[in-house]
């Protein structure tokens, strides 16, 4: 029975080094990055070329800077029925329920309001309050918004009815997540089930790495070269962060950031510096990261539980940063240096 001695090979687990390929590129107004593990049906460089090309096409599809682009069809007269690109409709179908459930914290009709705040301008300054009120009126019909109003309605056959007059629709806050999901699906088709894709603040992991879990860092909102925590994802998941440090300016000691509250037309001032989410898909993460930031842990925790996502809020207190999290966050937390916020 000497051949049974080959069973000794059971004890020898061979750890082969799995090659990985990485690429960074710019698209859709942000940085994209992808890491592929292993070797698939096409060479990794070819797979990366494919998804890079896809982001370029999505860029021209979803951009709200082109007054004649595919998105501009949604800017029309009140009551118009239009037939936009089916991919735009797919994103809208996901966005509308989230807008309702977040009671308006998520809103795709704030393009004009964002322009009023001009965060991308070289010399940012506080906008004229009258301009803010006008932008709100154009969006909601009034400048004191008390409840959610959808900007459009989607019909069963994919046509869209516009419910606001001449409102530019802005998918910038929600398209990247959807795109990342599409790229991830494509990579699996190309034979790369183990990969990580990052599009701006949206990260999607897929599959299980040979050497343990995917490790992602949670940025320190006040020192963005450092992390306040690390999370470990076992396999397929999506993570997203919204923070007040991404686009902002400080005037007279007050931070004005890009996450505008639709009800007031101004950046939120609830003390939350960032909200990091873990969801099942990147589209879901992208939809909910801004609402979770605006809603804060109070209302956000309940919503998060009902959606099945986990959230970490980093709050800025006079003494420093502290964290609040949903109960499920503990299961993915690998290491953190955040103190818990006092109740």
């Amino acid at each position: 029975m000497r051949r049974l001695a080959i069973l000794g090979a059971l004890l020898l687990v061979s750890c082969r080094e799995v090659p990985s390929t990485h690429r960074d590129w710019a698209a859709m107004d942000c940085n994209f990055a992808a890491t592929l593990h292993g070797e698939g049906r096409v060479p990794p460089e070819a797979a990366l070329d494919t998804i890079q090309e896809w982001t370029r096409r999505y860029d021209s599809l979803f951009t709200d800077y082109d007054p004649h682009g595919p998105l501009s069809i949604l800017r029309g007269r009140l009551g118009d029925t239009v037939r936009p690109d089916p991919r735009i409709v797919a994103i809208l179908r996901g966005a509308l329920p989230a807008m309702a459930a977040s009671r308006g914290s998520l809103d795709i009709g704030l393009h004009d309001l964002k322009e009023v705040w001009g965060l991308d301008a070289p010399e940012p300054r506080l906008p004229d309050p009258a301009l803010v009120r006008r932008a709100l009126r154009r969006r909601f019909g009034t400048d004191s918004v008390s409840s959610f109003r959808p900007p459009l309605e989607i019909l069963a056959d994919g046509r869209v009815v516009l419910l606001v007059d001449s409102l530019p629709i802005d998918l910038g806050g929600i398209a990247k997540g959807w795109v990342v999901d599409q790229l991830s699906r494509k990579l699996v088709e190309l034979g790369y089930p183990v990969h990580l894709i990052q599009g701006g603040g949206e990260i999607a992991t897929h599959g299980r790495k040979a050497k343990g879990a995917w490790k992602l860092g949670v940025k320190n909102p006040r020192a963005t070269d450092q992390v306040v925590g690390t999370i470990a994802l076992e396999s397929t998941a999506a993570v997203s962060t919204s923070g007040d440090y991404e686009r902002f300016f400080v005037l007279d000691g007050v931070r004005y950031h890009h996450l505008l509250e639709p009800s007031t037309g101004r950046p939120s001032r609830n003390g939350i510096a960032s909200a990091t989410l873990r969801c099942a898909t990147s589209a879901q993460c992208d939809l909910w990261s801004k609402p979770m930031f605006l809603l804060g842990p109070g209302e956000g925790t309940r919503l998060a539980d009902s959606l099945g996502i986990d959230v970490l809020w980093v709050r800025e207190l006079p003494g420093g940063l502290c964290g609040e999290q949903t109960t499920g966050w503990k299961t993915i937390l690998w290491r953190d240096t955040l103190a818990a916020c006092p109740r």
Binding site: M1, R2, L4, A5, L7, G8, L10, L11, G212
Partner: protein, 354 residues
């Protein structure tokens, strides 16, 4: 006396049964010993007193069969959970399979004595279990911090086991182990159908895995309906195991208290589960012993199947027989030493098995 150089033939069913009985008995007795604080997962491994010389004399196949049958019995009679059983079985099988030939060859060439063989086998077995727990439970390496105390303990316990195992092996000891299991039951076994034998074995194995009380209850009812009086008598004979299981499961099982300050509902549930499991296992074992189609088994050597079936009806007598043997041995002034005790144990066992 045959010379040590010539290879021994495969063991007969009686030898296998006797070895299995002693190995299982030692395993169960060991579970009664108190645990070492700080390192409570370490056990002396006394059943290797039988398994090691068995491996050296008869080879990997028979030793594997003996080891796995011992594990099955301790799962049923000792109340071990299925996961412990699996990890122990896989580790032991790997250790025996990998080291078996090496140890036998080294012993044949006089390179290795019983002590070295025992230490190597114990070390391999324990390291394997450690590796499996690390791989299966934790999912990553780096668990081997425990390996230090484990190795030291392996050496100490292996040396004790080696010393106690000296009367066995090298061709010696197996005849009187076989004599412990009387010939009476094996000779006149009727021929059952292969189908019924397979069903009985499947149900017997199922009783080890099912933990639902209703499921186990159903199995018991089926077993008693099939085996009738024989099954009921076999179940009744396992009564000595009941206080053993009660002691094992009732003390400090956490949960809601139902009586006094130490019996909890969860403890009673666990005890009930284990008692039902034991009843079902014993009853099916009795049915199997009667129905197993000896002549139809085409699995190479059926010595292990027959031996296992011979052990099943004798398992309930383990505790009373060993207690009786210990009493009479002590009264006789420990005459004959360890072999004297084992001889009395064998006689008590034969007497009770009729």
């Amino acid at each position: 006396m045959r010379s040590p150089e010539s290879p021994l033939p495969k063991p007969g069913p009686q030898v296998f049964a006797g070895a299995l009985l002693v190995a299982s008995g030692l395993q169960l007795a060991e579970l009664l010993l108190p645990r070492i604080p700080l390192l409570p997962w370490l056990r002396p491994g006394f059943s290797w007193i039988v398994i090691l010389p068995f491996l050296l004399d008869f080879g990997i196949g028979p030793a594997l069969a003996l080891f796995l049958c011992r594990n099955l019995l301790s799962m049923a009679y000792g109340g071990q959970p299925a996961s412990t059983f699996l990890i122990s079985s896989v580790s032991g099988a790997v250790a025996i399979a990998v080291l078996g030939e090496v140890l036998r060859g080294a012993q044949r060439r006089r390179w290795l004595g019983r002590a070295g063989a025992s230490v190597l086998l114990a070390g391999a077995f324990n390291v394997c279990q450690l590796a499996l727990v690390a791989w299966v439970l934790v999912g990553s390496g780096g668990y081997f911090g425990q390996i230090g105390p484990l190795l030291v303990w392996s050496v100490a316990s292996a040396l004790v086991v080696a010393w106690l195992s000296l009367p066995l092996g090298g061709g010696r000891g197996w005849e009187w182990m076989g004599a412990m299991v009387s010939d009476r039951e094996s000779g006149s076994l009727p021929q059952g159908s292969l189908f019924r034998g397979v069903v009985a074995f499947a149900l017997m194995a199922a009783s080890l895995w099912i933990s639902d009380l209703r499921g186990l209850g159903v199995l018991c009812v089926v077993a008693v309906a099939w085996g009738r009086r024989g099954a009921l008598v076999a179940i009744a004979r396992t009564w000595p195991f009941l206080p053993y299981l009660a002691w094992f499961h009732l003390r400090d099982t956490p949960g809601d208290l139902v009586w006094g300050t130490w019996i909890t509902r969860q403890g009673v549930e666990q005890l009930s589960e284990q008692a039902l499991r034991l009843a079902a296992f014993t009853a099916f074992g009795r049915i199997l012993a009667v129905w197993f189609p000896w002549r139809r088994v085409v699995v190479g050597n059926a010595y292990w199947a027959r031996g296992f079936a011979m052990v099943l009806p004798r398992m309930p007598h383990l505790f009373p027989a060993s207690l009786g043997a210990a009493r009479s041995w002590w009264k006789a002034g420990r005459k004959g030493g360890v072999e004297g005790f084992l001889g009395r144990f064998g006689r008590e066992l034969s007497d009770r098995a009729t």
